[in-house]
Point group: C2
Chain length 349, copies 2
């Protein structure tokens, strides 16, 4: 955005990422700390929110004045308990200011740990949809054998049509190729049996559409089951926003409860307590891997611009990782490449 902005790999001036710095359960503190961490890692950030509060938070971090961080004033914030529909009239809300910065080309992406519904609504209203995409979806990463699984939709659309699923398969395939360097990523349609004829009415219809798309930007593996998500059977897990949201929250809840039980087991006897001390370090790195903070935030894919939606409970590490992911998606020219893919496809039809 400015003269002191870092420069990207291709020699262009890198745009800063706009962070809704007031969003989330814990207000400005983790947002500002995450921005400081990201800036130290080379990503420039626009902190959007209450100027006085944000400068006060920045002041707590030694050397932050020399980092590529600027504050952009927003006089309002949509609270976690308020209505997503407030986005329309509260134009000065921090999330709206952040998405406008993207729309105006002054920021590369908008990131918010605040109200998920408001972030979605603001991104959709301000940035609009990529032509050919009926509904944007939320794309999230989950830990899985061999690395991670990419799942969508994890909550933007509770009721969906088969055509949405087909479009999301194309969007996610481009995303993995462009941002995560996965060649020809496989797409699995989440169902209740691997056989083509198993599933609910939605899945049966989507299965047909995906078969048609196979080899045309989508590497369709076929139906997969719940157990395949953690097995990492396919790169992409395609599902409606109801099932996807249930799955995401179940996966997080189960990991939390299981690790709690492992901890209990490690302190149940004197022998296991002693053993527990020895294995603590190894288990901690595993717990980190399961921690949603590792992936920072989820991408709202299908809008004409980059928008990332994180957990309200995000800590500084999650904020930092979200900002790095946002910068990476922008460097990879994700949105123009999604637009191009949908343009090619429609010219084929």
């Amino acid at each position: 955005m400015t003269a002191e902005a870092p420069v990207s790999a291709e020699g262009q001036k890198a745009l800063p990422v706009a962070l809704d710095a007031m969003g989330g359960d814990h207000g400005a503190a983790p947002n500002v700390e995450g921005a400081v961490l990201a800036a130290r890692a080379g990503v420039s950030v626009l902190l959007v929110g209450d100027r006085v509060k944000l400068h006060a938070e920045l002041g707590k971090h030694a050397g932050s004045a020399t980092l590529p961080i600027e504050v952009v004033e927003a006089t309002d914030v949509i609270g976690m308990d308020e209505h997503a529909s407030d986005v329309r009239r509260r134009t000065q809300a921090s999330i709206n200011v952040a998405t406008r910065l993207v729309k105006e080309g002054r920021a590369s992406a908008a990131v918010s740990m605040g109200h998920s519904g408001a972030t979605m609504a603001s991104a959709l209203l301000t940035l609009g949809r990529i032509p050919g995409v009926e509904r944007p979806a939320i794309l999230a990463h989950l830990p899985a054998r061999g690395g991670f699984t990419t799942m969508l939709d994890v909550g933007a659309n509770a009721d969906v049509k088969a055509s949405y699923l087909a479009q999301w398969a194309r969007l996610a395939s481009v995303y993995l190729r462009v941002v995560e360097d996965r060649e020809n990523p496989t797409v699995g349609l989440l169902s209740i049996g691997e056989e083509d004829h198993k599933g609910n009415a939605l899945v049966l219809e989507a299965h047909g559409l995906l078969r048609e798309l196979h080899g045309r930007g989508v590497n369709f593996h076929g139906n997969i089951e719940g157990r395949d998500v953690f097995m990492g059977t396919t790169d992409i897990v395609l599902t409606d926003g109801f099932t996807g949201n249930v799955v995401l929250k179940l996966a997080e809840g189960e990991a939390k409860v299981l690790f709690g039980w492992v901890k209990e087991a490690l302190s149940s006897t004197l022998k296991s307590k002693l053993g527990g001390l020895l294995v603590r370090g190894s288990l901690r790195s595993l717990a980190d891997r399961m921690d949603p903070s590792t992936y920072g935030a989820s991408l709202l894919i299908g809008v004409k611009g980059l928008a990332f939606i994180g957990h309200g409970s995000a800590d500084a590490r999650a904020v930092k990782n979200a900002l790095l992911r946002a910068a990476r998606a922008h460097d990879a020219k994700l949105v123009p490449r999604l637009e191009a893919a949908f343009q090619e496809q429609s010219s084929l039809n």
Copy 2:
């Protein structure tokens, strides 16, 4: 099933449980071994299948001749890859013989680790539905904080109506009271937010029906999220058979992958290897708790008789636990009490 009607621990003759002894991925061996274990624990069993094979398997278990186990001939078996619809014409298939034994009052329950769809179809065709129940559901237990969670439907109905969910809430509430001694069990409707207005169209409609049932045989807690399943927030998790099946298989897959990672972590360094030896025993009992074999099989609830459906991969321990659960459900007079609850309710309307 009236004249020689089933009976209880109150001094009457206990009916045997009919086991489809040919069903499952591993054929007769784990079924017969499981039956021997159950019989030693006091449950009498009818082994249904190929007489010669079953006697040969029984012969491998010392002292089995003195146990309350009988063989009932069935000349056919529906293989795991065959069609569930075959149930209609293949009247001599082991699963059909087993459900007929229940219908005729000669067995307390039918248990099968074989073809799930065939078991459901056979139970429904042979036993019929409880009046007032539109569709039976599969009810399963999952490990959760504080013990276990009861979830339904986990796969009988991929597309459902709100009225089914309301009926399942009533069925599962009776089940937990009668079989598991849970007073006034709470019912949570699986959704994508706790707020009443969040969910897909099905959940929104079901929410209204459940509000009306609250205090009339159903203790409706409200909407719950994916994370609540393992937290054990409610006794009962109510969902459609598509979401429930995905959740069940995801939960099993995740536990398997996580325990695999824990094992890896425990052998990553010399220090953690040493610690791993010390904690092995404690972790093994935790792994047992997560093992689906612990619960043996799932109950097909809503049919006019007891039918249990297990994993094709079931081992002898799973078969044994399924037989014990079946006997317990019969001793608790589950089916007559479900029928009574639905009769009362309809006379109220």
